[in-house]
Amino acid sequence: MDYQKPIPLKNQDNHPYWDAADRRELLIQKCESCQHYSHPPGPACAKCGSTELSWENLGSEVKGTVYSFIVSYRPFLPGFQDDPPLVIATVELEKAPQVKLIANVLDCNPEEVNIGMNVKMTWQDIKEGRALPQWIPA
């Protein structure tokens, strides 16, 4: 069956992130002026306003720890009707703790998710040529 959920929309500012995801890599925007990571990516650094932006490739072995999470017991968007209970987590990246990256935590019992839990990134094939970064227990 076709993938029913929303597919990330690429735009002028975020496409390097999603293009990398499609290659199963994680690319995070970084500000060359203040050295802060800039996520979600934008047209300029949200910390200092600089447009001196670059992209740092964190590769395909991405680890992190759960920084915060919720468990959704009702679908709040179309396409998610079969997902609850759905874990949505903010994950602190091991290699760049400043970055907190939101995705679902898959392949785990929602009641076992907790803050500090180790996770690693996986890429879910959602349609031809498109992949979605997700977390699974490490």
Partner: protein, 387 residues
């Protein structure tokens, strides 16, 4: 900078009927609320020369409202916004009066929040959401499509760091529902909530159950702001604005990449300084309550209880009548009605006027009050009012 402390006042408050299905338009609701506020102030519609509103594109315009009150105002303004917009528009109104643009301003929020456009979602176009929300493509594909989820991510972390528990959330709900039992116009009037019932309620979106969510209602609220001098000519007892402040943090806060940056933390210092009061001087509060947790985070932000002790503060019954800081005394948005904060403003004005004197609803020694707005960690507004 001009000192505005005590030089402006809220002189009229009013609301339409509240329901889950008004069967009418936001314009009709706004007219009802505006007429009630004008009557409360003892003014005539033509005395209002400025009209302002905030909405999420779900209302009528200020220009329309003025027109059908038979008024030809000097100034109208409609902004996009939710929580904190009331405070920001009051600050705008003061600026316009101060510079002689207008004399008296009516500010309203009108919405068919249940039967029309629902904040809680339903029927949204997911691609529209990805574009409309800053950073939307980083949340919507993961099913994070509603404020309960965005706020919940913030709440889970904050609760973890500060020792807040589910039961502390419950104390906020139980306290406000108790207030609603004294307010026949509250949506949950006649529907009290016990801690036992609260704890038995299943999660809708952990860490929240349905009681932690604000309700959705069809209604309009209006307030009238004018100078302290003109306030003397009004029939109502003026409620003076001691200080007012607002703050905007990052616009992609739905994503909350920096969970320590909270607008309310900045607003608190500013508003106390402007008003010249301290947290311990407050007698009553209206704390923005789109979710129970938001109240707890703001008690911390506004210095009402120290970080880490907020749970004990609410567990001791301090938000209830007779507590240290009776708050959301009409039931708040958790149990009275929901107009992105304006119903909480109406209530604190009535408390500070001592309008409930002689009933079990009046907060005793009610002279100074804090009213807060919170659209998220990104947007906060607050004002301190006095008798």
């Amino acid at each position: 900078m001009a000192q505005i402390k005590d030089r402006y006042a809220i002189v009229g408050v009013g609301e339409s009927e509240r329901s889950k299905n008004s069967g009418t338009t936001p314009l009709h609701l706004a007219l009802d609320a505006a007429r009630a506020a004008i009557q409360d102030a003892g003014l005539e519609a033509k005395d209002i020369d400025g009209f302002m509103s905030y909405s999420e594109n779900d209302s009528c315009t200020s220009h329309q409202l003025a027109t059908y009150l038979g008024v030809r105002p000097k100034y109208v303004k409609d902004i996009m916004g939710g929580g904190s917009s009331t405070e920001m528009l009051i600050a705008d109104a003061i600026g316009l009066i101060e510079t002689g643009q207008v004399n008296t301003v009516l500010i309203y929020r009108s919405m068919n929040g249940r039967s029309g456009v629902r904040m809680g979602g339903g029927g949204w176009d997911v691609n529209m959401l990805q574009s409309a929300i800053d950073g939307g493509s980083f949340i919507i594909p993961y099913g994070a499509g509603g404020p309960a989820q965005w706020f919940g991510l913030f709440a889970t972390r904050h609760m973890h760091e500060t020792g807040l528990t589910q039961e502390h959330l419950g104390h906020v709900c139980v306290s406000f529902y108790e207030h609603a039992q004294r307010n026949p116009k509250a949506y949950f009037y006649g529907k009290p909530l016990t801690m036992e019932q609260y704890k038995e309620t299943p999660y809708l979106s952990y860490p929240f159950n349905k009681h932690d969510f604000c309700l959705e209602s069809d209604e309009a609220n209006a307030i009238i702001v004018t100078s302290a001098e003109r306030a003397k000519d009004c029939q109502s007892r003026p409620v003076y604005i001691m200080g007012i402040a607002a703050r905007q943090c990052v616009s992609h806060s739905h994503y909350w990449s920096d969970l320590t940056e909270v607008a309310a933390d900045y607003v608190a210092d500013d508003v106390y300084k402007k008003a010249g009061v301290k947290p311990e001087d407050l007698d009553v509060a209206s704390i923005y309550d789109c979710y129970s947790w938001v109240v707890l985070r703001q008690l911390e932000a506004y210095g009402i209880a120290p970080r880490g002790e907020v749970g004990d503060f609410v567990a001791a019954g301090n938000l209830r009548l007779g507590g240290k800081l009776p708050s959301n005394t009409a039931g708040g948005m958790l149990s009275e009605g929901y107009t992105h904060g304006m119903n909480n403003v109406l209530e604190i004005v009535r408390q500070i006027r001592h309008e409930y004197k002689g009933t079990d609803r009046q907060v005793e020694n009610c002279e100074i009050g804090l009213c807060t707005g919170w659209a998220g960690p990104d947007i906060a507004g607050a004002m301190i009012l006095r008798n």
